[in-house]
Every structure is written in C-alpha cells, then in structure tokens.
Symmetry: C2
C-alpha cells in the first residue's frame, strides 16, 4: 500500500483537512514518472517512514512554515493566518496543489513543492501549470526527495490537461529539471519587480 493511501497518514486527528483530495495523487499514472530512482524509492514510496501527500490544515504544527524558511523569507505567521490562507486556497478547488513529504517518525514536514494551475482562454481554453516553492529540508537532501516531488507535480500537470508546465530556477538547478523533460525556453527572459521581501 502506498503511503498516500495509508490511513495513519490520512487521518491524523478528526479536524484535519487536505488542501485537495489525496486521490488526485494516488490516481496518477506511475508510467508517467520520469525520475531515475535508486534503492527502491518511487514517488508513491519515498522512503521508510516518509509519506508524500497533499498539504493538510494540521501541517502548521508539523513545521510546514519552518521548512519554507529554508527556501526564503516567511515571517512570523500565526495559526489563524496560516489557516485563513489554507482555506482560501482550498476554496478555489482546482488551483493550488501543494504537496508535502512528512517524516512520520517525527511528525515533521520535511519536503514540499507546489503546482499552481492558471486557467487560460488561449490554447483551446486550457490551462498553464507552474512549479513553485520546491524545498527539501537540509538533513533530508540526497534522498531523492526533490525528484519525488517534481515527478509527482509534472505528472499532475499533464493530468490536469495544461498545455505547458513551467518554472524558474537558478543555473545550478537546470540539470536537475532537465531529467523531467524541462527545457530552457529559447530567447525567453524572466523579468520582475520586487516590492518587498
């Protein structure tokens, strides 16, 4: 049984809710996974005591925001503020797919990545998917968990019917993303205005 289907992982307290249905992940076609895994790891079996699943309303207490501080600035966020944003995202239904990896032996979130779906009128009224906010906690690096997260999100983007999936990354991560089929878009410049950190 894959971790995502594990009852222990799914129902950790009565009040917890997932950002989206775990079936979205368990229904992915494993033939679409592209990562080259060692040691019996796969997206649905990321390792002993590790579980890949949707973000849950209970993950505030499992260090989800602490993990994000390993990626960038988060700030001092109360549980209410977290839950307010969580339920706004959840209300959208089919827009935010945040997945996490939990270390069940420590009740800690140790990896996360987000797929955002943007509805379009162009390209046959389809959608565009984006990979955002990918991070694996320092002590868990080297365990193929970044690969697990990306493989799930890329499969998901295909399943959602998006005409493309994209991301921005630093130079040293280009090779990592190429294994999933990402290519540098020719002559495309990424530009931004930063208002605050």
């Amino acid at each position: 049984m894959s971790c995502i289907q594990d009852t222990e992982c799914r129902e950790n307290g009565n009040k917890e809710e997932y950002l989206f249905s775990p079936e979205v992940l368990t229904n992915l076609d494993s033939r679409d996974f592209r990562g080259d895994y060692k040691n019996g790891i796969s997206p649905l079996k990321p390792g002993p005591d590790l579980c890949a699943r949707p973000l849950s309303s209970g993950d505030y207490d499992k260090g989800y925001l602490d993990l994000l501080t390993e990626l960038t600035i988060v700030g001092d966020i109360s549980r209410d503020t977290f839950l307010n944003q969580f339920y706004k995202m959840k209300a959208y239904g089919d827009n935010y797919y945040i997945i996490v990896i939990e270390d069940l032996s420590k009740n800690r979130i140790i990896g996360t990545a987000t797929l955002v779906i943007e509805k379009k009128f162009i390209h046959h009224v389809s959608s565009r998917a984006r990979v955002e906010d990918v991070v694996v906690s320092g002590e868990y690096r080297g365990l193929q968990l970044g690969k697990v997260l990306l493989d799930i999100l890329v499969c998901l983007s295909k399943k959602m019917g998006s005409y493309k999936v994209s991301l921005e990354c630093k130079d040293h991560n280009v090779k990592f993303y190429e294994q999933f089929g990402f290519e540098k878009a020719p002559e495309q410049n990424f530009m931004h205005i930063r208002y605050f950190d």
Copy 2:
C-alpha cells in the same frame, strides 16, 4: 470622466457581467503610473473612443478571442465554452484580472492583458502577481496601448499587496518592460515542458 467610469462602457446590455469590479481599476492611484505618454493619453484615457475596462461576459461577441489569435493559438471556441471559463475565473474572485481595451466606435476588443494573482505562504503569506497574455491588435499598434495595459497591471499588482510581479518576454520586448521597473532577474532560467499547442 474616465472611460472606465463611463456608463455606456459599463452597461452594454443587461446581461453582461464583468470579470471583476471596474472600481478596482478606477480606484488605482494614478501617481503610480510610470509610462511616459504623449498626446494626452493616460491609462484611464487611452484615446478617443477607446475604453480600458475588465473583461466582460459579452466580449465573446466583440472579438476577444479573435484578438488572442494575434498572440497565439486559441482554437475554435463556442460561446458556452468561453462563458464557462469566464464564470470559473470570476468565481475565484481575486485571482484573475483580465483587462481589455474596447474601440467603442466598432464594438471591438483591440487590446488585452492579464494579471494573475497567486496566493503564497512565503513572504508573509502574501501573493505573487504575473503579467500574462499581452496583445494589442495590429492596426492599433503605435498608439501607446501596450503601455496603457502594462501601467494598469503593474499598479494593480502593487495594490494587491503582492511581494513581486513577474513576466516572461522575448528579447525584443525587454526594453519595453524596463520602463515600468521590470528587471531581468539574475541567474534565473525559465524552463518549460510543452504538452500541446
């Protein structure tokens, strides 16, 4: 009176609905506009017989999708399919800001640009804004309308409290976007997987 506030522009038939409230645009602070305009043009006064406003449910009949074909592939889209996507976007409330420029003398949509707001947990539970799908119809180019569209969207992104606004563009458009404060992000690579056109 600015075009956006014009009743003629606002109520073109009883059944039309805007994607978002026109007040979102009229309430923008004009001191934030950055484009260098000639001939008395400004974001809220884009020219004689021209009106900048939110996308409307009636714009299917005003050539909105025809305009998008000048940008990329759209496909053969029925009115029902258009309206279905329109109302899905509208239901999100604060996610999709598609603005259009209408030539009121021809009842034609001749320019459009989209601001998409992505909610985040990072950066103090704020949001990230993206400029998407910018196009001005061929015969209306050179009339500063791209500037009008971008100025409105950049102002809007600031007002929405996003920590940054970003876009991807071809090399020849870099200079155009720089006038609004966009900078090339150092060492950032834009990568994608294309599933279909």
